[in-house]
Subunit: 323 residues, 2 copies
């Protein structure tokens, strides 16, 4: 896993995913007390950065293996990223999703032509379901984060941040990243190490699901007590990956933790000041930038707004809350 | 008024406004039955393309005149564009706004440091109020659309569309533009004439406020019966401008008209498929692309999503409606 793989992934995805903008606004600067630059991956095709890793992984498969199809486990954003890459490569995709995933994500995945297999989180084992399907049909599993080509694809976000931050004159800053298993965070960290060493990636997680922050402190992989119980479904994982954790340990600054209420307030701020729709899990990095400014140094901060696949009912509820 | 003024405006605004993305999504393509490319000016600093015209006009003033300050009449987006340009030039701005303008726009304008003077649309005459203030303080009026430097600034949207559409391989298409007085539409039309002659600008207006569409048919400036009565406040004007109409007459294709309900449905589609927040007036071009496909030719259509300054209560109401 190295910068050359990220650069190779960037060449493969070119023309197939959006270069997303690095946005700024006076309103966000006023809340945070410093310049806030937002990498708007919610505007990415399929609604999250996962389109990058999905394309990078599917396009890296040998043709004869790829044509048998792929399979993925996902609560939604990785599902859509893989489904979309499969669709454009003309191959089949099976996505195993929990039956309580957001409707927007289930519908989005089906809309991309994938076969969606729902399972009950409590009573069924997704690995058993997936292994059986993969064996029967010769499908290749695309893991959501602990897979080199996926990390390489997500790392292309870091290449873009390095170039775009320089246009703003920002070369020294913390880069706050919404973090589940660490694919995006570790990929960005590797890209920044090579392209913008004054920018430092830091994972941001929801309170109660801060496995990465705790792992960075203890120096070993820590686990969360639960796999559910936050509205930030996109960034809930049990623990960082075997591949992603060593990269984060070597390159990342300390983790940050935000509450669900702070994530919701960041969704409102992005609505008002950026006109960008964020899902809760895609808003945790912006929440840290806005509401925990004391934990960030320097005159500017960069936040990755990683996804925006949110059900309209939840979004309306969030808008109705008072700041 | 010519392409050289637009290119000069592009040089002046460079680094001061965002290059906004030209977005696509499978979901929008499926609704429209063709490729839909959306120029997301709602992501522009201040939330609309008006930041371009405001900057272009303020930066074009001679320094000794500029330093006395500027004044503008606006229901909101032009207000924020001018206020922001004034703030960054270190000069004062007075904005005369109707008291029933969206709260998001009044607050946004104040937040940019402008002095906001509210007036009653029914009982007060804004021109009288504005003329008195301008005379007392030596302020320069920045008109919202019928002003060459403002048209030049808005025309920079067209320069970007020409380059970005070519990256998608789209060189022949209708470019649907949310149209009030015609500053954006005429500026884009001039830019496309020079840079992408296979792209044709077409104005889109709300039903009952289709002064531009009717003017293009009759060949003379037509007026609307009313100045209010649509939720699309950003694109409600009495008639096209003396400068903008001849440009549109020479270069634009026939106008299109959408209902308020179609604008609201386009807001939902942009929420779901692009993760971009649009205000009603900023959604009319996308509404035409999605819901009047029979009036557009060719395999691709480009829609300018011109603004996203919308009150959260209205946005939540729109999300709650069923398609």
């Amino acid at each position: 896993m190295n910068i050359d793989m990220i650069r190779a992934a960037a060449r493969r995805i070119e023309g197939h995913v959006h270069h997303t903008p690095l946005l700024s606004s006076y309103g966000l600067d006023a809340i945070a007390g410093r310049k806030v630059l937002v990498k708007a991956e919610a505007l990415q095709i399929t609604g999250s950065f996962k389109a990058r890793g999905g394309w990078a992984a599917v396009s890296a498969l040998p043709a004869e293996i790829r044509q048998r199809g792929v399979i993925a486990f996902s609560s939604g954003n990785h599902a859509q990223g893989v489904a979309r890459a499969a669709k454009e490569h003309g191959i089949s995709a099976v996505i195993v999703m929990p039956s309580d995933a957001p409707i927007a994500k289930i519908e989005g995945t089906k809309g991309l032509g994938a076969e969606v297999v729902l399972y009950d989180r409590v009573n069924e084992d997704r690995d058993t379901i997936g292994a059986q399907l993969a064996a029967e049909r010769g499908l290749t599993l695309i893991k959501p984060f602990d897979e080199p080509e996926v990390i390489a694809g997500q790392g292309t976000v870091g290449l873009e941040i390095a170039a775009q931050a320089a246009e703003y004159g920002v070369t020294e800053a913390d880069v706050l990243v919404c973090c589940g298993g660490g694919g995006l965070t570790s990929g960005i960290a590797l890209a920044l190490e090579a392209e913008a060493p004054g920018l430092r990636a830091r994972p941001v997680e929801p309170a109660g699901f801060d496995d990465v922050a705790r792992s960075l402190i203890s120096g070993q992989i820590e686990r969360n007590a639960s796999a559910s119980g936050s509205i930030c479904d996109a960034v809930i994982t049990i623990s960082p990956g075997q591949l992603t954790f060593p990269i984060m340990q070597r390159l990342c600054g300390p983790g940050l933790v935000v509450t669900d209420a702070e994530a919701r307030a960041a969704m409102r701020a992005a609505f008002r000041h950026l006109r960008v729709v964020l899902e809760p899990g895609g808003a945790v990095a912006l929440a840290a930038a806005l509401f925990h400014p004391e934990t960030v140094g320097g005159p500017a901060v960069i936040a990755v707004a990683s996804g925006g696949n949110v059900d309209p009912g939840l979004f309306a509820d969030v808008l109705a809350e008072k700041d």
